[in-house]
């Protein structure tokens, strides 16, 4: 298939359809509206598929809950303030072990914030986000192609582990157009998950509920969820590294920030600075083992994020004092350019006497 030029939001929509997404429930908010628009045009035309523009974000996530209970692949999307509203529903999905895909095209915060791209929802996404002891898988794409690929992966992971999966993008990824290729065709038959509620004719009835009045029963549910989280951590942790073999300093960044950092690192390498990039692709589970391994030989780290410093805490936890961690961040929706990041990296490199 030839590449097509597509904005990130629409690419998610197309990838979701090809992944067998049957239901999409949306509510408008910049900068993710193209996804809702794409599904309104394309998903609504498909047989047995449903597009609903809900009356609110809360309604949309609860519609996802309903569709998931019935065994359909379901998705919703929003941007930062809207994702906050969905947290109750996400906690309920986690409690009932229901798969779902939730897209967050982050914008500046806190509050209603700005409509420019930011990465300030890292804490919210990777710590569960809503109430109760739970986790969601969080994917951090950094190009339109990855948005497409990760959307397909998100649906597969959600079904495999019966868990909500968050795609943590940002306003720039959603808005910009890049050439993209889709690795799958839409399935001829829509996937329906086993064990869902579709009428109990000829079998004992099943119950899916989030309230458990007996604390010891609920404790066992929590244990069982955490056993699965341990399995996910073991099986699905994904990361990427670039030029770390001989690096004296490693930049750790995710999503669009990793892409900007990579550009900076390429320029610095051409000047002879031994710097590399470590990029967590799954933000939860966080790739702490590779970082731990790296700390045997590399002692200086710089975490770069488009926020006030959130993933930096995971890096510190992973290194557990075995490396020195510096931080550079631009919050509020400011998008730094590669030369700015290169200046920060080289400043630290020389200050620490690494040449």
């Amino acid at each position: 298939m030839a590449k097509i030029l597509m904005d990130g939001n629409s690419a998610i929509g197309e990838a979701a359809i090809r992944a067998g997404c049957q239901c999409y429930f949306g509510y408008p908010i910049t900068p993710q509206n193209e996804l809702t628009e794409y599904m309104a045009t394309h998903l609504s035309r498909r047989k047995r598929c449903a597009f609903v523009q809900a009356e609110s974000e809360v309604a949309a996530i609860n519609m996802v809950y309903g569709a998931s209970v019935a065994g359909a692949r379901a998705m919703t999307s929003s941007s930062s303030p809207g994702i906050s509203l969905k947290q109750e529903g996400i906690s309920y999905l986690a409690a009932c072990e229901l798969p779902a895909v939730i897209v967050n095209m982050q914008r500046g915060g806190p509050g209603l914030g700005s409509i420019s791209a930011a990465q300030s929802d890292y804490f919210q996404a990777t710590r569960g986000g809503g109430h109760g002891d739970y986790r969601t898988i969080v994917l951090g794409p950094s190009s339109v192609q990855e948005l497409a690929d990760m959307t397909m992966r998100a649906f597969d992971l959600a079904d495999k582990y019966k868990i909500p999966v968050i795609i943590l993008g940002d306003g720039v990824l959603g808005q910009m157009k890049e050439p993209v290729e889709f690795s799958r065709e839409a399935p001829a038959v829509l996937p329906i998950r086993e064990g869902s509620l579709r009428g109990a004719k000829g079998r004992p009835s099943r119950i899916i509920k989030t309230f458990t009045s007996n604390p010891s029963e609920l404790e066992e549910i929590n244990w069982s969820l955490f056993r699965r989280y341990t399995l996910i951590k073991k099986e699905e942790t994904t990361c990427e590294s670039f030029m770390i073999e001989d690096a004296r300093l490693v930049v750790v960044a995710f999503g669009i920030a990793a892409r900007i950092a990579k550009g900076a690192i390429k320029n610095l390498r051409s000047e002879g600075l031994k710097v590399g990039l470590f990029r967590p692709v799954t933000l939860w589970p966080f790739p702490d083992e590779p970082l731990k391994e790296m700390s045997k030989t590399i002692k200086q780290y710089l975490v770069f994020e488009m926020n006030m410093g959130q993933m930096v805490e995971d890096v510190q936890l992973a290194l557990a004092g075995r490396g020195e961690v510096a931080f550079y961040g631009r919050p509020g929706g400011v998008i730094p350019n590669p030369s700015e990041v290169a200046r920060v990296i080289s400043r630290l490199y020389y200050q620490k006497g690494l040449k």
Binding site: K3, L5, T30, P31, I115, G171, V172, Q175, M176, K177, E178, P179, I256, R259, I260, K262, G263, A264, K266, I335, N337, P338
Partner: protein
């Protein structure tokens, strides 16, 4: 090499479709490309702009803080963006609408009377294609054949408009 182009003008002048056409042409050439429209509280008749980054290597950021090329389709864009261009860059001005005095001596000014040429061809709305043609010739970032191929794709649902737009594209290209 990485080349960033910023296209700016009034909403409705076809500024975004000009950028999109350029980006599609670059994709057809097998280059890495990003297209980023400026979004915000934009209104019809207000200003619009987009950035196209074209490179043989991966593109780190789709944002143009200091573009090599700027196309200004109207007066406010010419005033606003003249200071963003890199030294040695090209500044394309729609001289039919821009009267701003450009005070920088370290960039090359390319005057294109886009609206006038478009009107002479019979439709003032093709001014953006006249400009794109002139840009293609002067900048050399993409081949004319790929720009036309991309235009065919973009207008595939509105085939009636193709002839008109191609004529405008050629008129701009043949200016220089």
């Amino acid at each position: 090499m990485l080349i960033k182009t910023l296209v700016a003008g009034f909403g409705g002048q076809g500024v975004l479709s000009m950028g999109l056409n350029l980006a599609e042409a670059a994709m057809l050439e097998g280059k890495n490309v990003t297209y980023l429209p400026a979004y915000g509280a934009e209104v019809r008749g207000g200003t619009a702009n987009c950035t196209v980054a074209i490179s043989d290597d991966e593109i780190a950021s789709p944002v143009a803080s200091s573009p090599e090329f700027v196309i200004a389709m109207n007066q406010p864009s010419a005033v606003k963006f003249q200071h963003h261009i890199q030294s040695g860059g090209l500044f394309f001005l729609n001289s039919s609408l821009v009267e701003a005095e450009i005070i920088r001596g370290d960039i090359e000014i390319v005057n294109v009377p886009a609206n006038k040429i478009a009107e002479d061809l019979g439709n003032p709305r093709t001014a953006n294609m006249v400009m794109l043609g002139a840009f293609t010739k002067k900048s050399g970032v993409v081949e004319l054949s790929n720009v036309s191929e991309a235009l065919k794709h973009i207008l595939s649902a509105k085939k009636k408009l193709l002839d008109l737009n191609e004529k405008a594209l050629l008129a701009g290209y043949n200016l220089f």
